[in-house]
C-alpha cells in the first residue's frame, strides 16, 4: 500500500483486457477522502470493470491501485445469499467467534449497531429472500460498511430506489464521506450527479474523456461527453386516434414483496403507456402475467376477446414482449441471428413449413431486422453471443416488432445499452405506436417515460397509484407517488 496524502485511493494507468477487447484503456483516477465522486459513461464504457479493479475483485492487466484501506463494492445486482439471514450475510467471511463457534449474538449486535450508526434500518434475523429490493440493498451496503472501508464504490445504486429513497441513500453516503471515506457512485442518472456529487469523471470506450467538479460543469456537457457528440433525436410521434386494444382487470400475480396486487388498466392501440415505479413494485409480475409465463388471477382482453393460454398462444394473438433479461429470457446466445429471430414464431407460417423451419424465411427476416435496426454484425450467421448488448437488444426488439404486433410489452428496453441504440429502440417503439400498436413500456427511468409515453401509470407496491396523461406530466408528483406518497 502506498500512502497518498489527501487521497483515499489512487489508480494509475489501469488497463484491463478480456481477450482482444480492451475494457479499460489507461485510466488514472484519484478519490479524495470526504468526497462523493460520480463515475459516468455509457454502457460498455468500462465503468463496472474499473470499479471491480478498484475494489480488488479483478486484477488489472496493467497499472496499479493504491489505497489506504479496504475498498467496499456495492454491486448493481446484489451478491447476497438469499436463503441466509441478514446477519449471516453481513458477517460472512469475518464472523465473530467464540472458540470454534460462531458468535451469533455478537454478530446480530454488530448488525444492529451498524444499522443504527448509518440509519439503515433492517431486521438482522430476516431471511434475505423475503426482503424487498430496497431493503436488500441496505443489507448489501451494511455488509460493505462492516468492513470499515476507506473507499466505498457503489455500482448503479439508485436504479432500484424511488426518488425519496435516493435522497436518503445520498444522505447516508454524505455522512459516510464526512467521516473521511471516499465514495464513488457509478450512475447514468445525470441529475443525481449534479445534485449530489462533488466531482465527476466520464468514461467512454475505456478512457477518461472528462474530469470536472460538478459545480463547474453542466448536465449537457456530461451527456455530450458520454455520447461523444450530440444525443440522437427520437422519431416524431404522429397524431393517431387511439382505439381500444388491451385491457386488464384486477390483475394479480407473484407473491411476496414483488407481487402485483390487483391492477386494472387499458392500453389503447396507438398509444404508449409508461409504467413508472421503482423496481420491485410488481413490474416483473405484471409483464410476466401478460406474457403468460407466470400464474395469475384476473382478466385480460385483447380487442374484447379474452387473452388466455400459454405464451405461444399469446404471441400468436399478437402480444409481443421485450423481456428484462435479454440474454436469458429473449435470446439463445450460442445461436445465430437467423436462428434467433424465429424464436416464438417457429410454430407458425411463414417461418414454419410443415415439420421444418423455413430457412429462407428465417434468413429474410433476419436480414430485414439487421437492416432496419442497424444491427452491427458480420452476418446473420453470427452468433448473438458475439454481439454487443445494444446489438443484442436490437435483435430482440426487431423480432418483437417484426410481425405487426398488436400489443408490445417492453420491460426496460433500453437498460444497459448505449445512447445511440437506446434512441433507436425508443424510436422504433414510437413508430410501432404510430402504426397502431398498443405499447406498454416499463421503465425505472422517469426521464425515458416523460420523453416517450402518451400516458404514465405509477405502480407502487403492486397497485396503480396514479395516472397522468402527457399534457399533465408532473415529474415531482410522479416521483412522490413512486415513493408511496398518498
Amino acid at each position: 500500500m502506498v500512502e497518498t496524502a489527501g487521497a483515499a485511493l489512487e489508480a494509475i494507468g489501469i488497463v484491463k483486457r478480456f481477450g482482444t477487447l480492451v475494457a479499460v484503456d489507461g485510466v488514472d483516477l484519484e478519490l479524495a477522502r470526504g468526497e462523493i465522486h460520480a463515475l459516468c459513461g455509457e454502457n460498455g464504457a468500462g465503468k463496472s470493470t474499473l470499479a471491480r479493479i478498484l475494489a480488488g475483485a479483478l486484477a488489472p492487466s496493467a497499472g496499479r491501485v493504491a489505497s489506504d484501506g479496504p475498498v467496499g463494492l456495492v454491486h448493481q445486482h446484489f451478491e447476497l445469499v438469499d436463503r441466509l439471514r441478514v446477519w449471516e450475510n453481513v458477517v460472512l467471511g469475518r464472523e465473530p467467534r467464540r472458540g470454534l463457534r460462531l458468535d451469533a449474538a455478537a454478530a446480530r449486535e454488530r448488525v444492529r449497531s451498524l444499522a443504527r450508526e448509518y440509519a439503515l434500518d433492517v431486521d438482522p434475523d430476516a431471511v434475505v429472500e423475503s426482503l424487498p429490493v430496497g431493503i436488500a440493498q441496505r443489507v448489501e451496503i451494511l455488509r460493505e460498511l462492516a468492513r470499515e472501508p476507506s473507499t466505498l464504490v457503489l455500482d448503479e445504486p439508485t436504479a432500484v430506489l424511488a426518488p425519496r429513497e435516493i435522497d436518503a441513500l445520498f444522505a447516508t453516503l454524505r455522512s459516510l464521506a464526512a467521516r473521511g471515506a471516499a465514495i464513488m457512485v457509478i450512475t447514468h442518472k445525470l441529475q443525481e450527479v449534479i445534485s449530489h456529487a462533488n466531482r465527476v469523471t466520464v468514461m467512454r470506450g475505456g478512457r477518461v474523456v472528462l474530469r470536472a467538479a460538478t459545480a463547474e460543469t453542466s448536465l449537457d456537457a456530461i451527456a455530450r461527453a458520454m455520447v461523444g457528440g450530440d444525443v440522437p433525436a427520437l422519431a416524431t410521434r404522429r397524431a393517431v386516434t387511439p382505439h381500444a386494444a388491451f385491457a386488464a382487470r384486477d390483475l394479480r400475480a407473484g407473491d411476496g414483496a414483488h407481487a402485483l396486487r390487483g391492477a386494472s388498466f387499458e392500453v389503447r392501440g396507438g398509444e404508449i403507456v409508461g409504467i413508472a415505479g421503482v423496481e420491485g413494485n410488481g413490474q416483473s409480475a405484471l409483464c410476466d402475467a401478460i406474457a403468460g409465463v407466470v400464474p395469475y388471477a384476473g382478466e385480460m382482453t385483447l380487442d374484447g376477446e379474452p387473452l388466455r393460454g400459454n405464451p405461444g398462444a399469446r404471441t400468436a394473438a399478437g402480444v409481443r414482449t421485450i423481456p428484462q433479461d435479454r440474454q436469458r429470457e429473449a435470446l439463445v446466445l450460442p445461436w445465430s441471428i437467423a436462428r434467433n429471430v424465429a424464436l416464438g414464431d417457429h410454430t407458425r407460417p411463414p417461418l414454419r413449413r410443415g415439420w421444418s423451419l423455413d430457412r429462407q424465411a428465417c434468413d429474410a427476416l433476419a436480414t430485414e431486422i439487421v437492416r432496419r435496426f442497424d444491427v452491427r454484425a458480420a452476418s446473420i450467421r453470427t452468433s448473438v453471443a458475439a454481439l454487443s448488448g445494444g446489438n443484442q437488444q436490437k435483435v430482440v426488439v426487431g423480432r418483437a416488432l417484426a410481425h405487426e404486433p398488436r400489443v408490445v410489452i417492453a420491460y426496460q428496453p433500453t437498460r444497459g445499452i448505449d445512447v445511440g441504440a437506446a434512441s433507436l429502440v425508443q424510436s422504433r417503439l414510437i413508430e410501432a405506436r404510430n402504426a397502431g400498436a398498443a405499447v406498454l413500456l416499463v421503465s425505472f427511468e422517469l426521464d425515458e417515460l416523460l420523453a416517450v409515453a402518451d400516458r404514465i401509470l405509477v405502480l407502487y407496491r403492486g397497485a396503480i397509484a396514479g395516472e397522468f396523461v402527457r399534457e399533465g406530466f408532473d415529474r415531482a408528483r410522479i416521483g412522490a407517488l413512486m415513493a408511496g406518497a398518498a
Binding site: E79, V91, G93
Partner: protein, 284 residues
C-alpha cells in the same frame, strides 16, 4: 427383546457405511458439488485401507490411508469442477468407473490374484464398534458445525451463491475443494469401515451400490447432516429387515430397491418439499 436388540445392532452396522457416505454427500452438496462419486470414494477407501494394512500390518495406518484415498478421489472432483470447468455429473461417473477399474487392477498387480486381497489385520470388533460411534458422533458434530461455526456458514453460503461468497472476500473454489476433500475422507472412512471394521479384506465390488443409496439418503434427509444420517439409518434398518424377512413372499429385489424408490419419492416432494442447495451441481 434380545431379538429386537440384535435387529437394531444389525441395522446400525448396515447403516454405518451409509451414514459416512451420506455425510460426505451432504458436505459436498451443501458446498455446491453434486458428488455422485461417493461409490468410488467408498471403493478406494476400502481398498487402500486393506492394502496399507496388509503392507504395514497396522490397521490404523490403513484407516488413515483409506481416508486419504477417499479425499484424493473426491478432491479430484472438486479440483476438476472448480478449476477446469468440468461437469460434475459426468466427472462423477468417470471417477466411479476409474475407482472400480483402478482398484480391481491394483488387486491383480499388488496381490497377484484377481478378485480380493488376502486377509489383513483389521480393526477388530472394538474398532468396528468405535467406528459406528464415530459415524453417529460425526453426524451430530457436522450438524453443529453447519449451524454453529463460521465454516458451516461459509459452506452453506457457497452452495447457495458462490458469487456472494466471492464478494465477501472468500474463495468459493477453495471452499468447494476443501469440502470435497473432507467429504472424500469421510466417504473413505465408510469404505474402511467395510474392509477393516466389519471385515478384514478388500474384495472387488464390495461397496455394492452403497454410495448410491447414500445419495438417496442425502435427498431423503433434505441435505442436512442429521437428516441424511437418519435416512441412512432408516435404509440400514430396511436392509436389515430384508435379511430377516427374506422369503416371506416379498421379492428380495423389491426390498433392495426400496431405498432407491424412496429417493424417487423424495424427488416428488410428496414426503415434504425439500429444496436442494441453489448452486448444487453448478460448476464455477
Amino acid at each position: 427383546m434380545a431379538e429386537l436388540l440384535d435387529f437394531f445392532q444389525l441395522a446400525l452396522v448396515k447403516a454405518t457405511p451409509l451414514i459416512f457416505a451420506a455425510l460426505a454427500g451432504v458436505i459436498c452438496e451443501r458446498s455446491g458439488i453434486l458428488n455422485i462419486a461417493l461409490e468410488g470414494g467408498l471403493t478406494v477407501g476400502a481398498f487402500t485401507g486393506a492394502a496399507v494394512s496388509f503392507e504395514t500390518g497396522n490397521p490404523l495406518l490403513g484407516l488413515i490411508a483409506g481416508m486419504l484415498a477417499g479425499a484424493l478421489l473426491c478432491g479430484l472432483l472438486g479440483v476438476a469442477a472448480t478449476r477446469f470447468g468440468v461437469d460434475q455429473i459426468v466427472a462423477g461417473i468417470g471417477l466411479n468407473m476409474l475407482a472400480a477399474g483402478a482398484t480391481a487392477f491394483a488387486v491383480v498387480v499388488l496381490f497377484g490374484a484377481p478378485g480380493a486381497t488376502p486377509e489383513v489385520h483389521a480393526l477388530g470388533s472394538a474398532g468396528e464398534t468405535a467406528l459406528i460411534a464415530v459415524a453417529v458422533v460425526a453426524a451430530l458434530a457436522l450438524q453443529l458445525g453447519f449451524d454453529r461455526t463460521p465454516w458451516g456458514l461459509r459452506l452453506r453460503a457457497c452452495g447457495e451463491n458462490p458469487q456472494a461468497v466471492l464478494s465477501a472476500g472468500l474463495d468459493p473454489r477453495r471452499i468447494r475443494v476443501l469440502a470435497t476433500l473432507a467429504g472424500g475422507a469421510i466417504a473413505g472412512l465408510g469404505g474402511v469401515f467395510l474392509s477393516l471394521g466389519e471385515l478384514d479384506l478388500y474384495s472387488d465390488g464390495m461397496t455394492a451400490g452403497r454410495g448410491f443409496i447414500a445419495l438417496a439418503a442425502v435427498i431423503f434427509g433434505r441435505w442436512t447432516p442429521l437428516g441424511a444420517a437418519g435416512a441412512a439409518l432408516a435404509f440400514g434398518a430396511l436392509s436389515a429387515l430384508q435379511f430377516v424377512l427374506q422369503r416371506s413372499g416379498v421379492p428380495s429385489e423389491l426390498m433392495q430397491a426400496l431405498p432407491y424408490l424412496a429417493a424417487l419419492a423424495a424427488l416428488t416432494g410428496i414426503v415434504g418439499k425439500a429444496r436442494a442447495p441453489a448452486a448444487d451441481g453448478v460448476s464455477l
